[in-house]
Symmetry: C2
Subunit: 123 residues, 2 copies
Amino acid sequence: MSVSFAQIVAEKPMTFTAECPTRAVLDHVMSRWGVLVLSALADGELRWGALRRIVPGISEKMLASTLRTLVEDGLVERTALPTVPPHVSYELTDLGRDLMERMLPLLGWVVEHASGIMSGRPR
Amino acid sequence: MSVSFAQIVAEKPMTFTAECPTRAVLDHVMSRWGVLVLSALADGELRWGALRRIVPGISEKMLASTLRTLVEDGLVERTALPTVPPHVSYELTDLGRDLMERMLPLLGWVVEHASGIMSGRPR
DNA sequence: CTGTATCCAATTCGATACTG
DNA sequence: CAGTATCGAATTGGATACAG
């Protein structure tokens, strides 16, 4: 698939407008916490508490709402064991893993180039 | 480079914390308008007015600040011809093109799967 | 342990008007 | 044409407390 932005927008003029599904998915998937949560899960299943610790600086509120969105999107699966105390874990679905195949190279690029890009700049 | 999130964070614990360059670059590059502006420029040089028209729904304010950030990051180059009226164009730098090689597959994935993900949902 | 509810601060963002 | 300035509305996000 050739991916030309102009071509996409020319053929389907509503693509990436505020009402378009593409915009919604883009917002979910490319959001700060969305990226980090998905990336954390790319290594395998994780429990709520583990996610909370691993994703740097995420609040409970944001973790909850990010996970809810990603589960609704079918990118993450939630598994709850009916024990006391509760045991809940999250893992990528097939769709989520497919997405992360495209996302991880991008993340790798950012890690490689971030210092260079930001060096010698205030905040 | 193997890109494991847990591995990255384990080796460099400050990676993706709020103060880390990776977080800043991630925010620039994965932001709603950042993605769309970069994608539009992936097809080639564009003038201010063209970008304004092509990127769906972007305001002048957001276009200005997004472009300023991307130019500062060295991902986009601004070329101003000293004519009256002014003629200013923007294009990806080599670094920006390198980034887009990783970004476009992701964008393509979103376009392909967005409808399926959002189908039958309110909003 | 895994969340939800609430409140409040900070930030983002769009609309509009204006300038070189 | 290519922006900047300003303002208010809306959203985001964090801290805290609490519930199942």
